[in-house]
């Protein structure tokens, strides 16, 4: 279980997150929904230890990862698929995955499993990441995170700007990860992108959690979404 306990964080002196608390159980998909600038990406970075916390704690299965130096956080079992993919662009597909494997101390069988999820990457194995199409890059970013055998997976707008077939492929993998017992925390701006997969939805507004609802409720009544994020 991934747990944020009254997390406050920001950039320099500018505070963005105020006392954000969340829980994502193993085998659950929690979606963080909010407008631009609500603090969604900041929350992801705070979990990864890329921003110093001003208060609160992040725990994974009881271990307080927010006390670890940033480069130990992935080793604790958190895989991160950042917004805009942020691949190591000049490195090949193989090298990008190798960095993921190394981060989790995983071996060649993990690589085979991940490549089985994304067969396209196997075809592009020796190609540089920057030569891939947008969808393939998103696959690689997801695969890189899966290579460290995460117990918690963070996805920041994973379907942004992708064509429908790619969105479908990424979504399939996310659902498979849930079935495998991974705690999935997903950030999205558009509600229709998350409702098909999310178990619960947390609304974030100007750095505060306003409400957490089961996705069922939102699927039944779209009016609630409009009330919270006004779109």
């Amino acid at each position: 279980m991934l747990e944020l306990d009254a997390v406050s964080a920001g950039y320099g002196r500018a505070q963005v997150l105020r006392q954000v608390s969340l829980r994502v159980a193993a085998g659950e998909i929690l979606c963080l929904l909010g407008r631009n600038g609500a603090g969604k990406t900041t929350a992801m970075k705070a979990i990864m230890g890329l921003l110093p916390l001003m208060g609160g704690a992040v725990r994974l299965d009881g271990i307080e990862v927010s006390r670890l130096p940033a480069h130990h956080v992935p080793k604790a079992g958190i895989g991160y698929v950042p917004q805009g993919r942020r691949l190591f662009a000049g490195l090949t597909v193989a090298q990008n995955l190798e960095i993921g494997l190394r981060a989790g101390g995983a071996d060649a069988t993990t690589l085979e499993e991940v490549l089985a999820l994304f067969p396209r990457l196997g075809d592009r194995f020796r190609q540089r990441a920057q030569t891939l199409s947008g969808g393939e890059q998103q696959m690689l970013a997801t695969a890189r995170a899966l290579c460290l055998r995460p117990r918690a997976l963070l996805l920041d707008e994973p379907t942004e700007g992708l064509q429908p077939s790619m969105i479908e492929a990424i979504r399939d993998v996310i659902i498979r990860m849930r079935a495998a017992g991974v705690a999935v925390l997903m950030v999205e701006q558009r509600v229709d992108a998350v409702l098909p997969v999310a178990d619960r939805v947390t609304f974030l507004e100007t750095g505060c959690v306003t409400e957490t609802l089961p996705a069922e409720t939102l699927r039944a009544d779209h009016g609630i979404v409009e009330r919270y994020i006004g779109v």
Binding site: M48, L50, A70, H71, P74, R86, L91, Q95, I99, A103
Partner: protein, 308 residues
Amino acid sequence: MEIGPYIMLASLEGAVTAAVLALTACGLSLVFGVMRVVNIAHGEFFMLGAVIAWWVAQGIAGHPALGFAAALVVAPVVVGAVAVAADVTILRHLDYDPERTIVATIGLLYIIQQLTLMTYGPEARPVQAPFSTRIALPWLEHGPEGWQVIWPWGLGTTTYKLAVIGAAVAVLLGVWALMARTRIGLLMRATQMDREMALAFAIPVERVYALVFGLGAGLAALAAVLIVPIQQAHYLMGGDPLLLSFVVVIIGGLGSLPGTVLAAVLIGLSDGIISVFFSPTLAKILATLLVGLVLVFRPQGLFGVRAP
């Protein structure tokens, strides 16, 4: 004598300059590329390498080759260790902020320079070359009996100068192999491309930085050990290598190692040739002018990639 032999002589001298410059500039380029730190103290690491080479060579009795060989190992390692210490105690605490690290490395420059003046003194001291046999070089001339080989007076080089060129090429190939073929090279390149993502994938960025800073300084020190039998060790000798390294790194493209090496060959050779036919000052003027032109018309350098 015609002009041909002069050009050949000047090119040979230029090739030695180019070889040493390529090593020094690669160190600077590596540090800038991976850490985004503009290291003003780079020339002092070069000087420190030469001075330590003198200490070591002085302290070891016997054949000069013994002292030189020891210096070749000791100087880069000691200078690398000094650089790692500077990284851990100073740069890390500035969060590698681009502006503050410039000021910090300027301070480092004066500390190293003045400490050397206080301990080593203001003299220029030579280190004996391990071997230095003169080789006369032949030239072809069209005489009354057709083409014939002549040995123009003054056209020659030494085995040591050729060895410097060979050693520099070998070390550069080694650096390339380190970056392209090893795991630590992969981590360095990943850190260079995206520091935050490197952290998010368990790369110990701080350790990579310390290693890169040490490696960069070690390369400068190694270049200095190679040149010190030709140039002598002096506490102010770091200025020229620093200027020329920046010239080369900017022309080649910041952070691009192949560009740096190519620019070093270009600048080194033209420096040698212009120095022989006109004056060393003109060579520096033209090199600096070239930097200006590159910055205006191709700011990312000849081989650099424009930042996205």
